[in-house]
Symmetry: D2
Subunit: 362 residues, 4 copies
């Protein structure tokens, strides 16, 4: 149906870790994408050579896209010929694999934590810190390869919701308590015997990420010579992370202390009036609303509101004064869409729109 011209200019995408939970989400979200075309499904040697359908315990509510079901999975040791690699692999192998693809000149858009805090690697949320993409100038992979990363899923919920407040009033302190969904643990992830009718008060490694990543994301980009840098923000973040029996959607209770005075109306206005930067608003995966503000105290709720904006909109509600810090509210983020695969795709779209990723097919 697509004409030849269109095809020639489409950007060829490989999904690294295609059979895992995040990898599957990439496949689901990229089905019908106007710019990107999955040309490689890459997984461990165990899956290599099988059809994607056979290699994958597909978790999606919708069936595997027809165009992908019979694609033969490539092993991670095979050479890739695509423009972008979206990486959903586990951190235990991410350093080696992602470095490998970057060395070959590919654009690596990673969901893993390994390179997030590397000072040369953008930790990117397009609506929050689009200027950080230029950090890739300081990367030294051969053949123009580079790595960009998206933050931890809970970090995304925190940063997206505080960004308007950070811009308007400055942040002195951030106090976070999460109620995180099961899909955040991957598959098979959390045993049903552990979570049925229960809450787990601990998620290994999670609190550390929430307490550090926002400082980089909200940091100031300095286009210094010879290499640009990001000067991290400095404010206190405290996080305690819980797992609840919800499939998708991290609900996060947040208190903030501002640098400047703000009335309740000021804060509500900041939430309501924040708009995506114009360079982001037109991207294919950019939602109509970056943030939705709930006046109704019953919102947001995971099952009812997690799919707003196709899972790319972050919801905030329950705004009120905090007797200890300044204000409290709750935020809801779709952890596997905005907080993982969807966020990574939007990152890639930003890079394409800036001319930093191009189709090299010919």
């Amino acid at each position: 149906m697509r004409n030849h011209q269109e095809m020639k200019n489409r950007i060829r995408v490989g999904i690294l870790g295609a059979t895992g939970a995040v990898g599957q989400k990439f496949v689901e979200l990229l089905d019908g994408h106007p710019w990107f075309e999955i040309t490689e499904l890459i997984a461990s040697e165990r899956s290599a050579g099988k059809s994607y359908r056979d290699a994958t315990g597909w978790l999606g509510r919708k069936a595997i896209p027809d165009t992908m079901a019979n694609v033969t999975v490539r092993g991670v040791k095979e050479k890739s010929d695509c423009d972008i690699v979206f990486s959903g692999v586990d951190s235990s192998v991410a350093t080696e694999l992602e470095s490998g693809y970057a060395s070959e000149g590919l654009s690596v858009i990673s969901n893993a934590r390994n390179f997030r805090m590397d000072p040369t690697v953008p930790l990117l949320i397009p609506e929050v810190n689009p200027e950080h993409v230029s950090l890739i100038k300081s990367q030294t992979w051969p053949n123009d390869g580079f790595i960009i990363t998206n933050p931890n899923c809970s970090t995304v919920g925190v940063v997206c919701s505080v960004k308007p407040l950070f811009d308007a009033f400055g942040l002195q302190a951030l106090h976070v308590t999460t109620m995180q969904a099961l899909s955040g643990a991957g598959y098979p992830g959390v045993s049903s015997l552990d979570i049925q009718g229960n809450v787990l008060p601990f998620i290994a490694g999670e609190e550390e990420k929430v307490e550090t990543e926002p400082l980089k994301i909200l940091g100031t980009f300095v286009d210094s010579v010879p290499s640009p840098v990001v000067n991290n923000e400095e404010f206190a973040i405290s996080a305690q992370c819980n797992r609840v029996s919800v499939v998708d959607g991290h609900l996060i209770s947040i208190s903030v202390r501002f640098k400047e005075n703000a009335s309740l109306e000021d804060v509500e206005s900041a939430f309501r009036n924040f708009n995506s930067p114009s360079e982001v608003a037109g991207l294919p995966s950019s939602p109509d609303e970056f943030l939705t503000f709930f006046e109704d105290p019953n919102g947001p709720q995971p099952v009812r509101h997690v799919m707003l904006g196709g899972g790319m909109t972050v919801s905030v509600g329950r705004l009120k004064r905090c007797s200890v810090l300044d204000y409290r509210f709750v935020a809801l983020v779709h952890n596997t869409i905005r907080g993982a695969a969807g966020g990574a795709i939007l990152n890639a779209e930003l890079l394409v729109s800036k001319g930093l990723i191009k189709s090299r097919a010919n």
Copy 2:
């Protein structure tokens, strides 16, 4: 089996609101109680005249106690002839009904919120503020009647867990995020369609209680003349309350700021070494451990730990430094036992042990 002497001295108990969720818990917990004997099951006129079995949609995992199943329920308008009334009625009727019983000279042990903040009414947790019972001297009901109250279930979890820290280091601020169980909403309470796989970020009226009640409970008792008073504490409390899909057990994420410096070891020691006052430790409903401290980061969890100490032990875990305040931890309280019926029974036991409630049967 019991001899006549024993029977004569047993304290006769009426359960007000006996068919409701809290009333049923009183019936369940008082089955076999060494001091108290339920002699009246009191409910609305709709239930009056029916057997307790027929009037009640029994919720318990164990059957209705044999001794209670065939008791005829009394209407609230009948005159009562007992020593104590345990009240589990809704706040919409509690003021009128509880006043009525107090006026008749009964000891009213209430779970309702109506009289909690009345300056003449003890808001009592025996291990925390046993001296507050003497506030009843300032009550002016005829015939020696009086009212004492136990706190909101979430307040109980907060206050029991911070009490050792309050004693050791003083409190400047308390930051609370709750994940509350379904049984706290009574029966039928929360619709399954609202909570299946979901979290509700709002519980009407709850946050106000958690932000005020602790200040009274931790207040200083002054045995002034002519009437004793409690001088409420003054520190900031911030609460945000969520409902999760758990049957029993409120899990609460708490951050504290102290007046004095304390190392992590100091805080852990305060938790581990806090003991019930000796006047409480021997009471029938007093658990072996008032607090249990979890070193294992996976504890406490509602389904696994809510029944420690028969539901009367409060659990704390996940202790760590808080980057924003001083320390963070989570607490778990059985909301319908320690946080409601069990707490009320322990309150009554304290009063009996102090000679403030006596059997008037003859």
Copy 3:
């Protein structure tokens, strides 16, 4: 956007019981319908005069359609001026209300049980017994009013899945065990305290419906004079109904005994090759596939497959020989779409396509 001509010919729809769970589903599913336009939202006097948004505790995952949110709800006592009334009211009031609308000459498409077994009323599933619509000729409401009904939600799952087998091999016996979703009980419906981690082995009135309604639906239409009749089928049906902790989708374990011999391949072919009658296949709410057959033993599952065909496709799987009867399988039906509001809309579409419902607006 729509031109005047189009608007003039659209069929004006009233939703009776618009604020209830089924009524809301009608509103959700009719949003954007090519033929039907909701012109009246009708509910009890308690809701009358309020905006639909204010009168309704909206349950949907998507927001209330913009076109409906501010519509003023009519009371049931007001006179209606529309072409069709879709009824989602409770059986306690359905007889009176639905009769009233039929008497005024309206086409009543009812989801209530009251008229289902009336011999003059079609109990209709378009793909199964479209010829039954002609039963309305035997109705004697003034002004050309009539009533048609759709079956109980579990009946729908049973009948849709056995229809191909009934046609191919005849039915001697049907043995049914249901695992029914929470939304079938309406809102607030089942208390979370009753169903959390539980199964309820009883649903009042349900088994009787499943044991009788299929005999009428699968009955033979005889176009006798003066009035057509349906001769009910006669075979044994046994049903036991359970409630499980699933939001949407009744899963039903079914065993069948045939009149004729059939191999496993024959049965599978019957499932796979059954097609919607051509008069139904093109209707707006008709799914691409009436039945989906799962070879994978892990399907169908409520959360993964309930939305196939927009909730209008019935899924079957786990086909195998039954040692006691002839064959066993499981069926999955979306209880509030195919089994209620969606089924009723498809019924109305069938009547429109047959010229039995027309726009009377002018």
Copy 4:
């Protein structure tokens, strides 16, 4: 507290697969057992040498028994010195391991499926077929070793509930639909992402067991020479097995066809009047009631009734005529107590009471 004489005569028990879900249940249930004393905790080489606390991800609601927590786990390759081995190992290793212990002269009480259908091995439920124990005379392990087995957990629910009917009216056909609990799949078992708000219509290998094991259990013991045998019953059994989101307790919908006529009252009487054989009734793990009959159509329910009789009582309810077979009812069995570890312990108690297991310690 126990005197020396008592200690000398206690029977020394080894738990094979002690760190697994079933093994843990053995440890939990044997805590404080009057006859048995766990002297060995046996697990894979991976766990060997560790303390039981460290080797085990303890699942129980109560803590690990103090007497067990610090016991050093033995590897399966070490020689055992105990009287009984309770086996909770996976079927992949059960044949080899259980044979090994039987060869050494130990009494092996197995929960695995491997030897269940071996004609020389009792498939035992003490209240149902106690005479089958004598089958062990036909076993030829050296040193008086032998193996007995308990049935699959669903089989146990089916057979316990139909036993009174089988005795009274004979069985021609049995039609079974299960709704099985999560704990039946072991730990970690079912992923929360697969079962949250869902039903799974397939459990690998389960239906085959339910369709065959009852025929052996209900078979006739013939004390033939030289070796006794069991002649299996012959009637049709059809099973379809589902997984539901319940922690403990398989709920089973059962239809039966009898050989003889029976009124509804006859069937109810058979359920109500069935008593454990006297040789079983006095055993330590025998519940007061083998079966509980529910007149209330709302019972039995997993969360409310699974712990009747300490988890050893099987509940039946929803009795009614079946239009297809003769009668229908539902049964509830605690799958890891009556259906696994508790059943195995009762089996061992029966053997001890018959003098077939003795303490060999001296």
